[in-house]
Assembly symmetry: C2
Homo-oligomer: 122 residues x 2
Amino acid sequence: MTEKINLAEKFASFDELWVPKVVAELNGQYLKAAKFQGEYVWHSHANEDELFLVTKGSMRIRLRDGVVELQEGEFFVVPRGVEHKPEADEVVECLLFEPAETRNTGDVDHAYTIEARDLERI
Amino acid sequence: MTEKINLAEKFASFDELWVPKVVAELNGQYLKAAKFQGEYVWHSHANEDELFLVTKGSMRIRLRDGVVELQEGEFFVVPRGVEHKPEADEVVECLLFEPAETRNTGDVDHAYTIEARDLERI
């Protein structure tokens, strides 16, 4: 009941890139910790808005009509249905907030795809 | 479409204590920025889990069976139905994540009460 979560400890517990880890579940939503480096795949989520909050480092979210540059302490919400492609030059740590059923590569099947039911809880 | 949010700028834009401001809406949930100092009122939310993530400073969340001490970079989810009482010795900045319809003082009417529909968006 009184278990708090320390984000630095959670981020220190894994090194995998592009493999979000569930750190909390509430109201049918997941809060996920993720590390990114390199380029992800273009995709969209038909029914889920997706929040990216950078907690360490920086990243870009490419959209078909622009690019969002995120530094530590900045976030962006990708609206449902909007194609996006996350990128990071160096390893970035970020939080994702989205419905629990969100598929990481959305409408695309890719080597990065992990079904929501298979996400690791840390 | 490409508007990102800088949390430091949002927190710098208001000084009110115990008056959460909506900084994002997604999937029927609100992400809120709040500043707390002093003692809040005991309350619970019958149908909403509530996430508190400290981004600057420290705070306590008292529960009937214990207390959660949160430092910067730590979060806690108060499960629906669980009585809690936030407190902070110094001004703390935190993010709240919860369903958009969540009433800030839950089942209690209090001077701090703000109906969800009246929350300011910043």
